[in-house]
């Protein structure tokens, strides 16, 4: 079983769309089985033959498993090659792996989804799921922060969601020039401006780790319980099976026990520079 999970399956790229200056969304075949079910928050290992393999979160709708959607930021040798793939090119695929967002635990509660930068990509399947099963959840609030107006990921989709009556969308950017009519400030600063019930809220947070730490502080200050805060941790995953230890975070293997972990579990580790 473990051997099979270590062997990438070649799949073709179906579509490629530029999102931001260095960020692309790839739609891939799901492989020979014709479909590849996944849970919101899980990731796949994408392999550029002869170059290397990287973990990339699934960013598409888990309700549609015939194709797989990944949003990739070109930052290193592998992701640069991934971002340059064209339709009909081949990429190696393993997965899905990991523990996803608490979609079941969150049922009946209000959801506060906080995304920073590219962190919106791993949260998008959770948002799709919530909107597909809207009756299962209470109030749904999405807070999104990024560097500047030019760096807003899935801008068109955020605009569409913002028009819906069943999800509240708040966007802020770290800085902007004069033609940006929206909010400016860091995303954690939106939390105290919300009128919400912290005792009945499950928070899902994804973004750069510093942004998540500040957001967690804001959520705790607002009264959200530690066990109701979930983070998607980013670590250097290699085997994705909890064997190699590259992604070890204290006693936790981010690839196998995460990437989504409750804050309660990582509370003592989050600010340790050794990790």
């Amino acid at each position: 079983m473990a051997d099979d999970l270590m062997v990438p399956e070649p799949v073709r790229v179906l579509r490629r769309q530029q999102e931001l200056a260095t960020t692309w969304t790839l739609e891939l075949e799901s492989g020979q089985a014709g479909h590849r079910p996944f849970l919101p928050g899980q990731f796949n290992m994408l392999y550029i033959f002869g170059v290397g393999e990287v973990p990339i979160s699934l960013s598409g709708d888990a309700g549609q498993t015939e194709t797989l959607v990944h949003t990739v930021r070109a930052v290193g040798p592998v992701s640069n090659k991934l971002a340059a793939l064209k339709p009909m090119d081949t990429v190696g695929l393993r997965g899905p792996f990991g523990v996803g967002w608490p979609m079941t635990a969150g049922e009946g509660a209000d959801l506060l989804i906080v995304a920073g930068g590219l962190g919106l990509a791993p949260l998008r399947p959770a948002i799709y799921h919530v909107l597909r099963h809207r009756e299962r959840y209470g109030r749904v609030i999405l807070l999104y922060g990024t560097r500047s107006p030019d760096d807003i990921l899935y801008a068109g989709q955020l605009e569409e969601w913002n028009k819906r009556p069943d999800i509240e969308v708040h966007i802020t950017v770290d800085h902007a020039s004069g033609d940006w009519p929206g909010k400016i400030g860091v995303v954690p600063s939106l939390v105290p401006t919300l009128d919400f019930d912290p005792e009945d809220t499950v928070a899902m947070v994804c973004g750069p780790e510093i942004m998540m730490r500040f957001t967690v502080n804001a959520l705790r200050d607002a009264g959200v319980e530690d066990e109701s805060i979930y983070l998607s941790m980013e670590r250097n995953m290699k085997c994705a099976l909890g064997h190699c230890g590259h992604c070890q975070f204290g006693s936790t293997f981010v690839c196998k026990d995460g990437p989504v972990l409750s804050f309660e579990r990582v509370r003592g580790l989050l600010s340790l520079k050794e990790f």
Partner: protein, 156 residues
Amino acid sequence: MKNIAQIVCEHPFFHGLDGEFCDLVCGCARNVRFNPGEYLFHEGGDADYLYLIRYGQVALEIAVPGKPSVRFQTLHDGDLVGVSWVLPPYHWAYDARAITLTRAIAMDAHCLRKKCDDDPVLGYDVLKRLLPILTSRLHATQMQILDVYGAPEQPE
């Protein structure tokens, strides 16, 4: 219609202030409005007023030579604009400009400082209200300086 005392004392910045103190600080207050694009104050200017936003959106900006100003924070209903009025030499450190029609309470800084100096209990109360604002702005600045959405944290 609410009088200015009610508006001031119901504003989040002064909410819960002792009634006697509330009457005191209201003597420093007046209603103001700013049209979109209008400046509340400019960098380097005298910090003669602080503004309690009742309605609207205000951008804090830093002028960059040869380039458009950089906006680093927006403030909204219930927010306080300006903290330099409490710190000598009482000069603004940035520009503040209304983005939308903004209605606010302008508090005369000389008047408020004098009342705070005359009654240290009031002064301490006002400082306790300012400190969380300063702290949260410091944290926000830390995040902005770190440019957390820039380089990735984990190498491939």
